[in-house]
Every structure is written in C-alpha cells, then in structure tokens.
C-alpha cells in the first residue's frame, strides 16, 4: 500500500457567532488512498460540507473560520503539502488542477452567461497553459469523455440549454479537465433524479478507474456509499463517530448512529425477517444545537442504548484491535465492550445480529 493521497489529521473548524463559538467540525481524521474512494456520511449539519470547503480553503472570509489540524496532500510531483497551511497562490495553483471539487447544485454551479466550452476552457488555460483554440478542443474531448452526445455542438451552448444531468456531467468535465489526483464530490447526485444519479455515479466510477484519482465522496445516501465507497467515515455533530472499510461497516455497524442510519433505509424495514414491510425506521429527536452540545456523547439524547456512562464525557474514538488489517474505529462506550466480544467471537460464533434490527420502532 502506497502513501495515502490525502491524510487529514485532527481537523477542526469553528465559526464565531453572536451566540458563541460553533464547532462545525471537531477533531476529524481520515485518509484517502490513491485511486480509492472515501465516503463522508452524515445528516445535514454534521459538518460534511464544511470539511470539504475547509480542505479546499473555500470558506468565505467573512465567516472568520478558525481552522486547526493538518491535511497532508501528496502532489503529482510527489511532494507532501499541508492544504491548510499552503500559501494562497500555491493553493490556487492546486485548485482545479490537482484538487477539484464538484458541487451539489449543477443548476447553479455554472455561469449562465458563458458557454460551457468557455467555462471548461478557463481552467484548462489557467492550469495547463493551453491557447484558446487548444483549450476549446480539450473542452470538447472532455465533453466526449463524460458521454455528452454531440459534444462539438454542445461545447458552444449555454448552461440553460442543458438538463440537470447534462449540467452535472459538464461539472464533472470541468472538475476533471486538468486530471486532478483528488476529486471532492459534495453530494454530486443529490439534486438529480434517481435514474440520472445512477448514470452519473457510473460515469464517476469509470473516470476514477481510468485516471486513478482519489475521491472524497460526501453524501447522506447510504445506498450510494455501499456501491461506490472503499472506506466510510460517519460524521455526527461534527465528529467522526465511526470509520470503517465499507464491507465491515455495512455488515456490522458499531455505533448506534450508524446502526440507526442503516435501519432508516427502506429495504431494512422488510429485511427484519418479517413477511410484511414494517414502518420505516426513524432516529428519534433532532441533532443537538451546536451551541449547547450535551456534556457526554453527542448522540446520547437520541440513542436507544444510552447508559449512564454516555452522559459523563465525550467517548473517545476507539480503534479496533486490528485483526487482518481491519482499520475500524468507533466513538461509543458500548463499542469497547463489543470489541472485546467481537475479538473473542471472531471466527467462532456466527455474527451477532446488529442490535438495531431488534430495536423498538418509535411511534
């Protein structure tokens, strides 16, 4: 295994507000290996987008974000740079060139007054130093690559002439034009309808296989995660609550929050060994206010398994005793007990049914 493309260590982002400091992202660490996909999963407000914007250093200056931690990125040239410390001019040279980003809203992420060819060409001219004609030809090739029919004609069209799926393809072409080694995709399929989602995901997968880029995939769609990610990092209230390789996570989620998320999937309502579909599962309550976080585990007020130990202090992120290179971590007091159990039971007893499948469905 080679050096990770991106190593994020103890990333924290806080915003001063009138009501006090809000820690949107707290102590987040993860890695992305070359050519692999790491998914960042969590509900709205869990800090997914703030993490990506922090890494791109695109948080608005007016937000006066306080960022700490480290994001070691291995450049194409093999140098390791810290994305959070890099000089603004050097950062600008990386953006769109080695680190690219796709946004959630393809309808509004394109400039309506420029043709899509001009917009793709802009980054190409900037980073690859191509001339106008060569850049436009490159733009046309990129449109071909993202499977837009009649690329030679489309390249001269304006964004309003394209459908949402087409525009997301253009955004991908835009982000991929300089062959980045790291692509940050911030919910790239959320605004699209389901059939188009599948096409876009398949396209991204194909491009990833062809170019060997790393992908930081931000989503709240666990179905997408199961199909496309290699590693999963689950965020809750700005903290990592669980991180695991995708198979392990889906086979046996350790953190009650992850269990809850999986139980929320419509398919799970049927899977509980019962003939007729049950009610959809929902995690009760709401995310606690970032201004007054609970003293202990952030998930404790919503957790069905909360114990006295959960209310005392924030549980640490406990790593698994790594058998067979399994890199798993969970932030739950119960996970510790579970880990010992799992270590004992591994290979002996059949896998325990995850607790959530027998959890009470709240009315």
């Amino acid at each position: 295994m080679s050096l990770p493309r991106l190593t994020v260590r103890n990333l924290s982002t806080s915003f001063p507000t009138e009501d006090g400091l809000v820690r949107s992202v707290a102590d987040v660490s993860f890695t992305i290996a070359p050519g692999k996909t790491t998914a960042l999963v969590g509900e709205s407000g869990s800090g997914k987008s703030v993490t990506s914007l922090t890494l791109m250093r695109l948080l608005p200056k007016t937000a006066q974000a306080q960022v700490s931690g480290e994001a070691a990125f291995v450049t194409r040239e093999g140098r390791t740079v810290d994305l959070l410390q890099l000089h603004e001019a050097s950062m600008r040279r990386l953006r769109g060139n080695q680190v690219s980003m796709i946004f959630q809203e393809p309808m509004t992420s394109l400039n309506p007054v420029l043709t899509i060819g001009e917009q793709i060409a802009e980054g190409v001219r900037l980073h690859l130093g191509l001339g106008r004609a060569a850049a436009l030809a490159h733009a046309r090739r990129m449109l071909d690559l993202v499977e837009i029919p009649a690329a030679a004609q489309r390249v001269h069209e304006y964004p309003h002439q394209l459908s949402g799926g087409m525009r997301q393809r253009v955004m991908i072409a835009l982000a991929m034009a300089c062959e980045p080694t790291l692509l940050i995709a911030d919910e790239p399929t959320t605004a699209l309808d389901v059939t188009i989602q599948a096409q876009i995901l398949a396209l991204m997968r194909r491009l990833q296989a062809e170019t060997g880029m790393s992908l930081l995939f931000i989503t709240h769609n666990l179905g997408v995660v199961a199909h496309h990610a290699d590693d999963v990092v689950v965020l809750y209230a700005g903290r990592v609550v669980e991180s695991a390789p995708v198979r392990d996570l889906f086979a046996e989620p350790w953190h009650p929050y992850t269990q809850g998320l999986l139980a929320c999937l419509p398919g799970q309502a049927r899977r509980a060994g019962q003939p007729k579909p049950r009610r959809l599962f929902a995690i009760r309550g709401q995310v606690s206010s970032p201004l007054s976080p609970p003293p202990g585990c952030a998930f404790e007020p919503r957790c069905n398994h909360a114990e006295a130990a959960c209310r005392g202090a924030m549980p640490a992120l406990v790593p698994a005793p790594a058998p067979a290179g399994n890199e798993r971590q969970a932030r739950c007091v119960r996970a510790v007990a579970k880990l010992q159990q799992a270590a004992l039971a591994r290979g002996v007893a059949p896998r325990a049914k995850p607790a959530v499948w027998s959890a009470k469905v709240p009315r």
């Binding site: 600008r92 990386l94 769109g96 060139n97």
Partner: protein, 279 residues
Amino acid sequence: MPLPRAIRQLMHRRIVLVAAGVLGVIAVLALAAPWVTAFDPHDTAVLQRLKSPTAEHLLGTDELGRDLFSRIVFGARYSLAIAAFTALGAVVCGTALGLAAGFFRRLDAPLMRVVDAMMSLPDILLAIALVAILGPSLANVVLALVLVYTPRVARVVRASTLVLRELLFIEAVRALGVRTSRILWRHILPHLMSPILVQLSFIFAYAILAEAGLSFLGVGVSPDTPTWGTMVAGSQPYAHQAFWVVLFPGLAIIFTALSLQLLGDGVRDLLDPKLKKVG
C-alpha cells in the same frame, strides 16, 4: 450574434422605436452640423435680431441675430458630448466603486458611507458647488456631473454584486483556482451589464438636463458656447418678445431627454425577464 435580435426586440415597441428615431435624427444632425446649416452659429447680425421663423431662418433668430437652427444643431454637439462623457465616466467610476464595495466586504462600509453622503445632497446643488470649486469650463462641468452621478451607479452595481458574489458558480470558479481579478472581470461584470446599460441611458438623459440647468444658472460652460442650456439662459430675457428663442432649445432638451428615458425604459424592460410580457 444575439445582438441584432435584441435590437429587433427593442424596436418592437413603437414608442421605443420613435424615441430611437428622434435620437438618431438629433445625432445625425449634430454630426453633420456644418453641412446641414446655412449659417455660422456664432455669426451675429443685429439687423436680423429676434426674427420669427422664415424659410431662410428655419427656427428664427435670437437676440443677436444668430440663426437659431444652426445654434441648436451645433449646440447638440456640445450638449450630447457633455452628456455622453458624463454618462460614460459615471458608469465606469460607479461600476468600479460598486464592484469593490460589493465584492470586498471590508471596503463596503467606508465606500458606501461616502456614496450615501454624496447622495444626500441634491444633484444640481452638488454640481453647482463642484463647478464653483473647479471653475467653469466644459471639462469641469463633465467632471462635476460625473462626481454627481457616480454614486447612483455605485449603489446599483453594489447591490447586484452582493447578490452575485454569493452565487454558487462564483464559488465553483474559485474552486477551479481562478483568481479574484478574473472572477470580477469575467464572471461578475457580464451579469451587471443590464443594470449598467439602464443606468447609462438614464444618466445620459439626466446629464443633458443637468448641463442645461447649470448653464441656465450661469455656472456651466461659458455663455458663448452654444449648448442648449446657455441658449435658453441667454435668450430668456427676450422670451416675451420672441417665444421661439427659448421654445426651440427647450424642445430640443425635452425631446432628447424624453427619448433617452424611453429608450432606457425599453432597455430595462428587455433585459429584465420579470417585466417581460408573456407570449
């Protein structure tokens, strides 16, 4: 090119077409002034003073016997030039200020307070004060009017920039590594073209009125320069004997300003999709 289609749409409304026609005639006359006039606008002929319109003097003569038609046509050159330079200057300065204030939040408060202060004074009063300080000359009148109208443009441009800078595609080009100056020039400025164009036509009209007002009050260009304002001002004591000496330059001012306003309205309606009629 989308331009011809835009012009066709603009001319679809009869009133805008008429306005454009009037402006076109005035502009052609002004450009061709030496060839369409029979008299030098400065030639005095005391025996011919205050003659009513005849075949020889189409619009009559003024108190010094100068041909009114020649003076109005030559005056159009001065009046239109002053207004054009004022409008251009105000739009360029106002756009720069508005962009800076709208895009760089740090500059917003200081810049806009100055703009607010300038806008709190009546236009013509501020212009009089500025000309009084700078001294009356053609260039200084333009400079004063530019200073008067820059804040208007700045306000409009700032407001639009504030909206634009928050749009996702601006963040998206930033994520492509495009530098700020280029974002302003290539990604924000084109979106400001419609408010800027509308402001341009309105300020053009205001500037014609303001120049006439300044000249009428005697603080504008020197009285021997035949602008429409100086003509009304100079001939005004004779209005009760010969109404045409003030009527015709006054009509020239009214028609030009009105046509510009109508054209500006037409441009605004064309560029604002919310005002577009259905079908």
